[in-house]
């Protein structure tokens, strides 16, 4: 799997997407987006190392780089040891984490933990979004296992970041986005419809632009950009469809807050693409519930130790 995005010939560039967004948004809103922080240099260095030829033979070297960043190291070990990955407490070195998860997944974790750090502590217009994202990651893993898919950890990493566009809007346009959320709830409409009406642009469009700007791994980038239109994700339609359905599973369950109080429609193409039926869905929801309770229990324990 390619670690960095190589846009297809007909795929819009970062600048073209920003121009398109800019035509629909007020200039000051676009300026707020442009002022987004870039990724920390240490993470970019790690990304370069992870994408070098022969990187798979130098796990020890990569583990060494990660271990120089105590925050990143702690977060990766915490994630890999969470009930989410089913090895509670067994992984104590970054090297073991790399062996268990593989480079692509660790890269996804590095990116997602960095994004989480970048936005934590900022004024947020959307309390409950982190719980929604975390729950979506658990739902995606549960659905992937139910469908017998491989690389369920990768599905979880993509799902964890699927609402990147909301994180950006909530942190960069805090007051305006708070008004959007309030309006969506008051009108009984989805947050995506209300974003389009009030801002002129939707969070998945912002996410699409951002994944291009940040050159995120393609296996994570496509589900973020296409989680509301998964059949447009080309060769990543599998992952995008799982993230789409997982988003609805966790919303349906009522865990976290995605910015509205009603359910968006499940995409018919995704349902067919994943060969879903009511029995599979029930099994996946049951697994999600079990994993969610185990994960919350673990998070609670971590917070108090």
């Amino acid at each position: 799997m390619a670690l960095f995005r190589k846009p297809a010939v007909d795929e819009p560039t970062e600048d073209a997407l920003l121009d398109d967004i800019g035509r629909r948004m007020l200039k000051r809103r676009v300026d707020a987006l442009k002022s987004l922080p870039t990724f920390p240099e240490s993470v970019l260095r790690l990304n370069r190392l992870l994408s070098e030829d022969g990187a798979k033979e130098s796990l020890q070297k990569i583990a060494g780089v990660i271990e120089t960043d105590p925050v990143l190291c702690a977060r990766i070990l915490r994630l890999v040891n969470s009930a989410f990955y089913g090895v509670s407490g067994a992984i104590i070195t970054v090297f073991d984490a790399l062996l268990m998860l593989g480079l692509d997944v660790v890269k996804g974790l590095v990116v997602s933990t960095t994004v989480s750090d970048m936005f934590s502590g900022r004024g947020s217009a959307l309390d409950g979004l982190w719980e929604h994202s975390y729950g979506c990651a658990i739902a995606a893993g549960a659905l992937g296992r139910t469908l017998g898919m491989s690389r369920c950890e990768e599905l979880s990493a993509a799902a964890l970041m699927h609402d990147l566009g909301k994180m950006v809007l909530a942190s960069q346009l805090t007051d305006e986005y708070r008004a959007v959320v309030a309006q969506a709830v008051a009108d009984g409409r989805t947050i995506r419809e209300t974003e389009a009406k009030m801002l002129g642009v939707t969070h998945d469009e912002i996410g699409h632009w951002l994944v291009l700007r940040w050159k995120l791994p393609v296996a994570i980038a496509e589900p973020i950009a296409r989680h509301h239109e998964p059949m447009k994700a080309g060769k990543y339609a599998d992952t995008a469809s799982v993230v789409h359905v997982a988003d609805l599973m966790i919303r349906g369950y009522g865990f976290g807050f995605a910015g509205d109080r009603i359910m968006p429609m499940l995409d018919e193409g995704a349902w067919r693409h994943l060969s879903l039926n009511p029995d599979k869905l029930r099994t996946a929801v049951r697994r999600m519930q079990d994993d969610l309770h185990a994960a919350m229990n673990h998070v609670n324990t971590l917070q108090t130790t």
């Binding site: 349906g252 009522g254 359910m263 009511p278 869905l281 029930r282 919350m296 324990t301």
Partner: protein, 109 residues
């Protein structure tokens, strides 16, 4: 204010608002006890699925034992605009069945 929480997922550090009394009438843990992880594990193992704790403002929604009627009403309200779609009905029914089964097990009903 006292809040009913699920011992399976409750966060260690919460303080009992009311004592935990066993079926034979003995007080297992007194009011004011700060629940450590081992307390919660023992309670859960003994079949005490729900306890009343003081709301310290940090309780997560998943920790609080839900009121079934309110939960069902919220579920139906979320799905109402899409209740004409068979796939969404399948999802709603899956969530409802799985969650109610969990409540029955967690509260010993």
């Amino acid at each position: 204010m006292a809040v009913r929480v699920l011992t399976q997922v409750a966060r260690p550090g919460v303080r009992l608002a009311n004592p935990v009394i066993m079926p034979d009438g003995k007080v297992l843990l007194g009011r004011g006890t700060v629940l450590a992880a081992r307390h919660l594990a023992v309670l859960h193992d003994l079949g005490v699925k729900v306890v009343e704790v003081e709301d310290d403002g940090r309780l997560g929604a998943w920790e609080i034992a839900p009121q079934t009627d309110a939960w069902l009403a919220a579920l139906d309200a979320r799905f109402l605009p899409v209740s004409h779609d068979r796939r969404m009905v399948a999802l709603r029914d899956a969530v409802k069945d799985v969650y109610l089964d969990y409540l029955r097990r967690s509260e010993g009903r």
